[in-house]
Amino acid sequence: MNLHEYQSKRIFAKYGIPIPKGEVAATPAQARDIAVRLGGPVVVKSQVLVGGRGKAGGIKVAQTPDEAEARADEILGMDIKGLTVKKVLVDEAADIRSEIYLGAVLDRARRRVVLMASSEGGVEIEQVAAETPEKIVTVAVHPFLGLRDYQARFLAEGIGLPKEHTRQFIKIAKGLYEAYMGSDASLAEINPLVITGDNQLLAVDGKIALDDSALFRHPDLAEMRDPDSESPSEVVARRHDLNYIQLDGEIGCMVNGAGLAMATMDIVKFYGGDPANFLDIGGGAQADKVATALGIILADEQVKAVLINIFGGITRCDEVAKGVLTAIESLDADVPFVVRLAGTNEKEGREILAEAHFPTATTLAEAAQLAVAAAKGEQA
């Protein structure tokens, strides 16, 4: 789950990281009021969960409250990469002398949280890594020790930060690490962290991505989820613990397990089809969950055939078969289905489907070929 800039910066502030004064507005009039209160030049920033807001015209400077209102009017309602801007952050404009990058991320190879810094602030870190990797300095943090001063100092020296800022930088780096750990983040970055005209470090922009598995212990953070950042189908999927990603193809896929779901998409492609989605119904899926999953697939108008591939471990095939039948009964499904069940209770599952006159396949290759043919309107 990704947090907006204003949400991320509020968390940073809680951990002692200096951020610009600012407030969130949903209307141009509110933006004007905030600019009046801040009393000086402001930056009006669209709050949408995509990168490249600046380039898209979603971040603008305003010298006066009137200008702030006008800029907010332009930005609110704007479409940025498919997302409609519903909120803007109105921040005191910073007097920026130079920009750096500071981020925290989980390094799966080292099995540690890693802090990384770069002298190239304001640029996406992916770009820096691709073009000038030598400009990124990292330190790995031992979980039982936490981030130590010497490590933060190493980062500061590594990016050539003027010595007068070292003390404040150490405080900010430690704050970022604490914010990362305290919110169970998977990514927390300040970009840019700027040096201002009066020689202070200031987190002008930032973002936090949270580990969904840890949200159970952060109800306050879970509430920050922006429902507009997901498609209606994705919202339904998440509420039912289904892992769903919509794609452009014509063969709807319902599979248990992420690895098998990806492999099923791979084999559909191999036989000349295009998957319409990734959908992992997870372990222990019950009939109602399967029905919900099928409902999501059928809601996609591009779907011309549905391939259900279930290998039963935790999930029992008879449960899946019942779910498929329930879904067909409750939904107005006029696309062909290909069902392939194997594993725990596969015989019972196939019997249930056979009684309802459903085509079933034994191997995955067979199922994929049938689905591809069915999507092309050929007789299965």
């Binding site: 981020g103 990384m116 870190i125 840890a214 690895g259 098998l260 998409m265 995955l364």
Partner: protein, 290 residues
């Protein structure tokens, strides 16, 4: 011979009285696994499925039953504690089935395990099976058959898929190990490849990877330099869309974007046979035998 689990495995089930724990303990016993004890805090002294004694702590269970391997079915929020408790009690091997364990909890767990001799498999994995000897996990036992192909996989159901295809062709397995799909896991491809290389009963190996991380590239390096047995590999996610995370900062740190194509190329260069889809794996393994 085989690796990790066999007929000498004395299994302890953490979370034996839960719904999943009870169901799968029954299945494991029916397969022939020697389940000697269960642990559920607060239920010590009771009896669970298959007349298995339940203890309050892992230490009590080990003392009373000489259990040497533990399997964990407890909910995600309690799983890190359960792993640490099992390692602290000195068990050789701990298999954590639980999915959805917070990543930062696993960072701590791994750092603790580094100070012990305990090997962890998982979390978020199907477990380990040595056909006809011991099933320590949630895989459907009946699809496996005894033989000489070792499997190691990040996936659950995809592994069953491949095992099923092998068994259908009359090709048996020495041991199948699901190492789990989470960012931080206890045992990697590298460790399991080494075990298979050293196991006289394993003649060839199937490796099933996924997009993300760089463990497959490390495995490729090992295959090129240290592996004498043939390896057949498959990487799931060739058609997967790029992740919709806000950034790929994690991938950058680990080096590279880690697409399926990159991993397949690395494995091919290392001398492994690389299948384009799951059904091709069994074909390739069969070809090695003829």
């Amino acid at each position: 011979m085989s690796i990790l689990v066999n007929k000498d495995t004395r299994l302890l089930v953490q979370g034996i009285t839960g719904r999943e724990g009870a169901f799968h303990t029954q299945q494991m016993i029916e397969y022939g696994t020697n389940v000697v004890a269960g642990v559920t805090p607060g239920k010590g002294g009771e009896w669970a499925v298959g007349n298995t004694p339940v203890f309050d702590t892992v230490v009590d269970a080990v003392k009373a039953t000489e259990a040497n391997v533990s399997i964990i079915y407890v909910p995600a929020r309690f799983a890190p504690g359960a792993i640490i408790e099992a390692a602290d009690a000195g068990l050789d091997l701990v298999i954590c089935i639980t999915e959805g364990v917070p990543a930062l909890d696993m960072v701590e767990v791994r750092a603790f395990l580094d100070t012990t001799d305990t090997r962890l498999i998982g979390p978020n994995c199907p477990g380990i099976i040595t056909p006809e000897e011991a099933k320590v996990g949630i895989m459907p036992g009946h699809i496996h058959t005894k033989g000489h192909v070792g499997l190691v996989s990040r996936s659950g159901t995809l592994t069953y898929e491949v095992v099923y295809a092998l068994t259908s062709r009359g090709i048996g397995q020495s041991t199948a190990v699901g190492i789990g799909g989470d960012p931080i896991i206890g045992t990697t491809f590298l460790d399991v490849l080494q075990l298979f290389e050293d196991d006289p009963d394993t003649e060839q190996v199937v490796l099933i990877g996924e997009i993300g991380g760089t463990d497959e590239q490390k495995a490729a390096e090992f295959i090129a330099n240290r592996m004498s047995k043939p390896v057949t590999a498959f990487i799931a996610g060739q058609t997967a869309p790029p992740g919709r995370r806000m950034g790929h900062a994690g991938a950058i740190i680990s080096g590279g974007e880690c697409t399926a194509a990159e991993k397949m190329a690395a494995l091919k260069a290392a001398g492994a046979q690389v299948a384009r889809h799951p059904d091709e794996i069994a074909e390739m393994v069969a070809a090695n035998l003829s």
